[in-house]
Amino acid sequence: MNHSAKHLYLKHLVTSVLRMVGKKSRTLFGVSLLSFIAASCAKNAPQDTWQPKGPNAKIIDDLQQPVFAVAGVIGLIVAVAVIYSVLKYKDRGQPIPEQTHGKPALEITLTIIPALILAVVAVFTFGAIFKLAKTDDTEMIINVTGQQWWWEYDYPVQNDFGITQPIISSGQLVLPVGTKVLLRETSRDVIHSYWIPALNGKRDAVPGRIQTLRLEADEPGIFTGQCTEFCGLSHANMRMEAVALSKADFAKWVANQQAAYVAPAKDSLAQQGEAVFLNQCVRCHQVNGLMRADGTPAIAAPDENVWSGSAPNLTHLMSRNTFAGASFDLLSKQCRDEVWNAPSDVIGTKYLAGVSQDCLNQKDLRSWLRNAPEMLPMYANPTQLAATGGKYRGMPYLALSEDDISKLVAYLLTLK
């Protein structure tokens, strides 16, 4: 190729690149690419990272959308350039071209352009990083502790929200809307990661460390999430939900969580269930206010039985929708849909109704009580517990009779 031809192809390249970067076609490419991706996506995927429902997730989304668009355009330019040269410069018997070794000016230009694009991206990235790291505007603190394979939520005393005694819950994180909540995360065993995509990115819960994550929801709703740091056998089943309630509904939730223990009615099935609970479950699971027959408080000692040291507090189990690390529903399918798909102005009321006898997902709860390790992979095999000194990792098989299971279910239903 002679010099003028070379000049021509360089000019051609530059103009075609410029043409593609032109505003109109950029929008066109961006829109067509995004609409193609959007069209082939699952509808209402509950963990969609492109559907922010709170200001923190919004910061991320506002940052990532243009980056995806620019990346898509650059990818298209490369693809078009490659396809163009494949078609144009196919061997059609032309002579072997001049052995040119490159053109430094063009090289440097094409190095500087992406560097400049990235520099712009970096400026906005820095802004978002520091916005998302702020902790001085916190309105509410919730301590979140990961354990194989569930999350514990501990609301320290915060009089502004009517929390006059610590609330300990698990599975579902309940928070008031429009409130800047700061999670203080840690773990009792391995590293887990807390992720509610609609509200923010993820943050690892690392044993021995306390790390913070901002959460804030715009509207009432139930937002799903999953543990995203590989944490052993049941990593896939370690789920969680964030339940955003209006401030008034949240106050009701707080009041209910702090309500005193109501013992089951005399001679009811539930009362027999309480006995079974005291006999079996209370070794690991705390129910605040539960008394032994001799009138002393029943204090769970999970640290003596569970390697990681804790087990879900069941005081107000039936105020939650899910159990066993949000792996299973406490609500039957129909009742669950009624709550979860409720419009945001009534979802709070529906959620606060808790789990009634009619709505209870008997099947999963009974199976769980019958043989938990069969439902969820856990290191429950006693022959493999040498390394933990015989302590369980997850709920073991308890060899409960069907009678006992019925009694327990009746009792658990009273834990509103």
Binding site: I37, V67, G75, Q99, P104, G201, Q226, E229, F230
Partner: protein, 662 residues
């Protein structure tokens, strides 16, 4: 070539037992049969053995991948249980990274670096053999765990404290850590060997800036290995001591910080990514110019961008930890460095495209794989840029979006480059050309298969499907036709299309081996020195060490520029150049002698580590093997005595001919 040399004239071996001059320390002399392979120090034979080993583990890792995709083909998969699934994805990654891509790159480097720089072997031939055997035994050792209680189940990243004895009570992680330790020694010895070779043994006239680009990229890789492997070595020692000797490096109760492991792992792990892709970048940078009939566009830019990646690659590790809680300042810094490394990577893509621009493109299978790499690696590179935006990464990390990203990088970049190299260099290695028609099917099935497999993972990840889940549930899958179940099924179907593509390659190998047709001397109209010798090359590579005047020396011996049109016209054929070399053959060629000791020494190490896990007595036995092998190695005579060989009084030229045939 150090001290282990012997005269080439006396190569013709005898079948009789060698003389007993040095008793047990005599050197092997067999030039045929299995001994010729097991005791060889020839860089080409070792390169081929690396390649075969890598291919074997590629199939193992591929079967593991197919099992994973079968399990995830539908919600609540039941093909594997959680425990087995965790072992499967751990071993899939471990196998593909450490036992396929790295050995394959080592194989190419072993075979072609000496040929590309006009040398007759590497600097330390016995150490080269040791490296191969360590890799092989290390790989076998890791996989033994499948049969001895279960494989490693902590993920290839093996985060503490989940890798501790309490959380992973089988011996899988012990096998994993010790096996990688053994394979790591192979990488280290190989790195030192190739660096010394490249720096000291280039043909006269070959300055660093006239060195073929593949050799350049491999040299960068060796430096990365030299500094990265020691880091993982330390980390693996800490882990092994924690698991086997009660150390508490990652025990949180004893005050440890689990992030220590993450930093160590990723300071190794990120340069490792470049260790995996730079060899393929080198390969396509060879292939594209050959089939574009043009030199690599901006050779110095490609060289320096490769070196730049080598340097900046050390400053980006914490982008794997954006969700770990490093604090905003660290996150911002690593965000910036990660963006910075995109620039030299982009330079390469631009240069490859411009190499094709204005060329005379010949679409051989090798060329197709290289073009495929440009496009598909770009996809992986761009999704990588989206991770550099740290807040965005906190949404994407540990989702399938990341799985999509690094498979576009490692499969679209790494593996397509490897296949390009296999098709391109096959005639050089075996004297026969792979079937191009089958190659075409192989290419398209692999490209379609990989896009079907990994493309949908972008969507899955962005819509919130985390990685490393043995099951996914309908409850989080969304609604409509295009829900997670649909995309997971597409990915699973894609993985089998991909597998058929790779199967076609294996079929192609068999067909080619059975086909008696020999390859021409210069089938691709190539440009660099490795093509300036016979196919396959003689044991001593070159009859005469060429003197280098140009980058692309071989091309410039075949063509000269027409001063009027600036196009190139042929002035010599490859056969003529070859014949001239044979006429001027060196009279005395020194080649290293084979040795028993590398394989013996290498065997001792897995015996030691096996003993570490099961019984310290066995470890003592292994140590004795290593000790005696080292002793034998050190005291071995530098060459086999002449009496071990059949005397050959014919002229040197004739002796060389017999070497070429052996």
């Amino acid at each position: 070539m150090a001290i282990m040399e012997r005269e080439i004239e006396v190569i013709t071996p005898i079948t009789a037992t060698p003389s007993s001059t040095y008793g047990v320390l005599k050197r092997p002399v067999a030039a045929t049969g299995w001994r010729a392979w097991v005791f060889t120090v020839d860089h080409k034979k070792l390169g081929l053995m690396y390649g075969v080993t890598a291919m074997f583990f590629f199939i193992v890792g591929g079967v593991e991948a197919l099992l994973i995709r079968l399990q995830l083909a539908a919600p609540n998969g039941k093909v594997l249980n959680a425990d087995l699934y965790n072992q499967m994805f751990t071993m899939h990654a471990t196998t593909m990274v450490f036992l396929f891509v790295m050995p394959m790159a080592a194989g190419f480097a072993n075979y072609f670096i000496p040929l590309q720089i006009g040398a007759r072997d590497v600097a330390f031939p016995r150490m080269n053999a040791l490296g191969f055997w360590l890799l092989l035994f290390g790989g076998i050792f890791i996989n033994l765990s499948w049969f001895l209680g279960g494989a490693a189940d902590g993920g290839w990243f093996m985060y503490a404290p989940n890798s501790g004895p309490v959380f992973s009570p089988t011996h899988g992680i012990d096998f994993w850590a010790f096996g990688l330790q053994i394979a790591g020694i192979a990488s280290l010895t190989g790195a030192i060997n190739l660096i010394v070779t490249v720096l000291n043994m280039r043909a006269p006239g070959m300055t660093l800036m006239k060195m073929p680009i593949f050799t350049w990229m491999m040299t960068v890789v060796q430096f990365l290995l030299l500094f990265a492997v020691p880091v993982i070595t330390v980390a693996l020692f800490l882990l092994s001591f924690q698991r086997n000797f009660g150390a508490r490096f990652f025990d949180v109760a004893a005050g440890a910080d689990p992030l220590l492991w993450q930093h160590l792992f990723w300071i190794f792990g990120h340069p490792e990514v470049y260790i995996l892709v730079l060899p393929s970048f080198g390969i396509v940078s060879e292939v594209l110019p050959v089939f574009s009939r043009k030199p690599l566009f901006g050779y110095p830019f490609v060289v320096f961008s490769g070196a730049a990646i080598g340097f900046v690659g050390w400053g980006v590790w914490a982008h794997h930890m954006f969700a770990s809680g490093l604090g905003p300042v660290s996150v911002a810094v690593f965000s910036l460095t990660t963006m910075a490394i995109a620039v030299p990577t982009g330079v390469k893509i631009i240069n490859w495209t411009l190499t094709m621009w204005g060329g005379k493109l010949v679409f051989s299978t090798a060329m197709k794989f290289s073009i495929g790499l440009i496009v598909l690696f770009t996809v992986g590179g761009l999704s990588g840029v989206t991770h550099s935006v740290a807040p965005s990464d906190t949404q994407q990390t540990d989702t399938y979006y990341i799985v999509a990203h690094f498979h576009y990088v490692l499969f679209g970049g790494g593996v397509l480059g490897i296949f390009s190299g296999l098709y391109y260099w096959w005639p050089k290695m075996f004297g026969k050309m792979l079937n191009e028609r089958l190659g075409n099917w192989n290419f398209w099935l692999m490209v379609i298969g990989m896009n079907l497999t990994f493309g949908p993972m972008h969507i899955l990840g962005l819509q919130g499907q985390p990685r490393r889940m043995y099951q996914f549930t309908n409850a989080r899958s969304g609604e409509g036709l295009f829900n997670f179940a649909f995309w997971n099924l597409v990915a699973s179907i894609g993985s089998f299309v991909l597998a058929v593509g790779i199967l076609l390659f294996l079929i192609n190998v068999v067909i080619t081996a059975r086909n008696p047709t020999k390859s021409p001397l210069d089938p691709w109209n190539a440009r660099s020195l490795e093509w300036m010798t016979s196919n396959p090359p003689k044991e001593h590579n070159f009859d005469v060490i060429p003197t280098v005047h140009h980058l692309d020396e071989f091309f410039h011996r075949k063509y000269e520029e027409d001063s009027a049109t600036h196009t190139m016209r042929q002035i010599a054929t490859a056969e003529e150049i070859m014949a001239e070399q044979e006429r001027n053959a060196d009279a005395h060629i020194h080649m290293p002698s084979p040795s028993y000791w590398p394989v013996v020494l290498a065997f001792g190490l897995p015996v030691i580590t096996f003993g570490m896990i099961f019984s310290h007595l066995i470890a003592v036995f292994g140590a004795i093997i290593v000790f005696f092998a080292a002793f034998g190695w050190a005291l071995e005579p530098s060459t086999a005595p002449a009496s071990d060989f059949e005397t050959n009084n014919s002229a040197p030229g004739k002796a060389l001919e017999s070497v070429g045939k052996s």
